[in-house]
Amino acid sequence: MDFNYTDTQDMLRDTLARFLADTYDFESRKKMIASDAGRDPGIWRALATELGILSAPFSEEQGGLGGGAIENLIMMEELGKVIAVEPYLQTVVIGGGALKAVGGALADAVIPEIIGGNVIIGFAYAEPKGRYNLANISTTAKKDGAGYILNGHKAVVYAAPWATHLLVTARTGGSQRERAGVDLFLIDAKSAGITRRDYPTVDGFRASEVYFENVAIPGDALLSGGIDLIEQIVDEATVAVCGEACGVTRKLHEGTLDYSKQRQQFGQPIGRFQVLQHRMADMFLEVEQIMSMTLMATLKLDLPAAERKAMVSLAKAKVSRSAKFVGQNAVQTHGGIGITQELAIGHYFKRATMIEGQFGSADWHLDRYEQLTLSDVA
């Protein structure tokens, strides 16, 4: 057993942290998300070219640094610390992860473009009615000669307004909610027949409703692997979001701690009040446990699917609950100022709140865990 980061990993973290400290202060972020585009494309370009770190989780053959889930964790944690709205999760973790998993010509073609910062991917998996069941989808991909015809409506596709490509789940066969027949496609976001309705999200990102109307896609857009592949990449994404939560909640805790040392009430810093001291101790406990669970799940991503799913779900359930606890108590300890747009704390709280439900709520993940591990009472 070993919990140490390698020197390369430490360096990756330092490089990114230093870059974000220079570019992603709270005021700069505010401007980015208020801009028409909702981001500063220069940041992504710099990550790709100047820092060259979008390559971190890819194999050396694919032009990467030879990393994997731990590198994604490091990246997500640091991005979380500045509540960055960069499409790293969608593009590198999810899109890149899917391509790594299937390999082949498509991967060889697209991964270098991801590393180079030329491809941004939106993950179009959710639908208006399916909630967290990845197989409960109505979007269809009908075989049409060598290709497919895509029809459907995907909900709340983060990063879609910026995306060059969409990674889409669609049904090629089987009936509603059946696992068999669900497939994954990587398609050009500009394909004819795709329309979008773009909007900001409450946590500062941009997203879209994406509508597919008889969108013709080539046969090689299919990433073979079906629902198993989709579950795998969603598990990887879930753990990456846990990594982001490590950064977000640590900042919530630190910010609250700092505030409590400065803010005076009743003639003393509020951090002198024992009730707030214990609350911040409890927040510390939760932040540490978020870290522990995220590491655990990261290190278990390579296990067989049933065990991987169980442990990812256990981690996400804990992270969801702890993020809620930390976020709510950070706001409460700040008082009114905690729920204004003025201070960073409120923005971290908003992101923490959305992380709670992303890729499944605590209840949903506990349910999945139970189905996998506590159902055998024969």
Partner: protein
């Protein structure tokens, strides 16, 4: 001991129900439920209907325009208005400064201000909190120095709800810097159009402009606008805080909130079944109903005590604590129900925008309302302060 309404009370309830059905403004329907931001016009629209009927200030003494209702009738009133999803009027005039004026004010003050509060002519705001004095209200530093028949007020207030619309504000100011904290404070009524007042918006997490900073620079306030004695303003403030707490349980509104969640969860799907059949979602609803029932009967016991002349004491802190926690849990459940559609940030339709909202209608405002309602455990004396009050005043610690 019994829980039944008398025949008279049932008649009253039916009268209230009919009145609301026939008179609640059509354009307001659904707005409270959806958590829509409400305009000044929205509030005034319902206010004026009630004012015309004489029901706008149920708790006021009859001589000042109250209804003379019993506590049970007032309970029925709040039940029925919540049940019908009526918007809740702003409290600053009706349940805050109004009672202070009729309790502590001069005959001139009563004659001048009370009718305009009832009619809706004056929109009030509250100048209490300051950047440096939140929970520690008595540490406020905005000072008023007498100059002839005026006070000259300088300082800064914050969290001033709806000050952007206000005609008048009631302000706590320091009139004696040498006295012990709570003994040098006076209670002033300030015309918000007086030169030297600047109102600056504070935008909250959901994007709402509800609260403001109010900057006061050499603001001249006639001495006749001071309520009660100079340096005795804390008496008014304490009276008002207790008054504020007793209504703050918000039982009737929370009941409506829980009903709404049930409605949502009957149609919203959780994979292949209605969300309300998910055992854990359903359990959270049941737990809300459980805790809300406990709060309701605790409030009823308090009301019964009040009817016997026991004023709303520090026990009412219980109502504030539990009431606010329940309000927050309701917003948490709504956001949970929204699933993916909690994320889109949608600020209502622009002119001529006829598109459908994104996701189910209730979901649009679920996250902003969730964020916004975090305030309920902070304002009106934070829940930490309420627990301090219980420890000190009730438990003698």
């Amino acid at each position: 001991m019994n829980l039944e309404f008398s025949p008279e009370e049932i008649t009253f309830r039916d009268e209230v129900r009919t009145f609301i059905a026939e008179n609640y403004p059509v354009e307001l329907r659904g707005k409270q439920d959806e958590g829509d931001e409400l305009s000044k016009e929205d509030f005034l629209s319902w206010h004026k209907v009630l004012a015309k009927k004489g029901w706008v200030a149920p708790a006021w003494p009859v001589e000042y325009g109250g209804t003379g209702w019993t506590p049970t009738q007032r309970y029925i009133w709040s039940e029925e208005t919540a049940r019908a999803d009526c918007i809740r009027l702003m409290p600053f005039g009706l349940t805050m400064v109004g009672p202070v004026i009729y309790t502590f004010g001069t005959p001139e003050q009563k004659a001048k201000f009370l009718p305009r509060i009832l009619s809706g002519e004056d929109w009030w705001c509250q100048g209490y909190s300051e950047p440096g004095s939140g929970s520690d209200l008595a540490s406020l530093r905005t000072k008023a120095v007498q100059d002839g028949d005026h006070y000259v007020v300088n300082g800064q207030k914050t969290w001033t709800t709806m000050a952007q619309h206000a005609d008048w504000g009631f302000f706590l100011v320091r009139t004696n810097a040498d006295a012990k904290q709570q003994e040098g404070i006076s209670f002033l009524l300030v015309d918000m159009k007086t030169p030297g007042i600047e109102v600056r918006p504070i935008i909250t997490l959901g994007g709402e402009h509800e609260v403001n900073e109010v900057w006061l620079e050499d603001v001249r306030v006639p001495v006749e606008n001071r309520v009660y004695e100079e340096n005795k303003g804390w008496t008014c403030a304490k009276f008002l805080l207790a008054h504020e707490r007793s209504g703050i349980a918000g039982v009737a509104a929370s009941k409506r909130g829980v009903e709404r969640i049930k409605e949502i969860a009957k149609t919203e799907m959780d994979d292949d079944r209605p969300l309300l059949t998910n055992p854990f979602f359903r359990r959270k609803v049941a737990e809300l109903e459980m805790d809300l029932t406990a709060l309701e009967y605790t409030e009823l016991r308090t009301l019964a005590g009040e009817a016997q002349g026991k004023g709303p004491g520090p026990e009412s802190s219980l109502l504030k604590i539990k009431g606010s926690e329940i309000q927050q849990r309701i917003t948490e459940l709504t956001l949970e129900a929204a699933g993916h559609y909690g994320a889109p940030y949608f600020r209502g339709f622009g002119e001529g925008d006829n598109e459908h909202p994104i996701g189910p209608e209730y979901a649009n405002r679920s996250a902003p309302v969730y964020f916004n309602v975090r305030k309920t455990t902070i304002y009106g004396g934070s829940n930490e302060i309420q627990r301090n009050i219980i420890a000190k005043m009730v438990l003698g610690l």
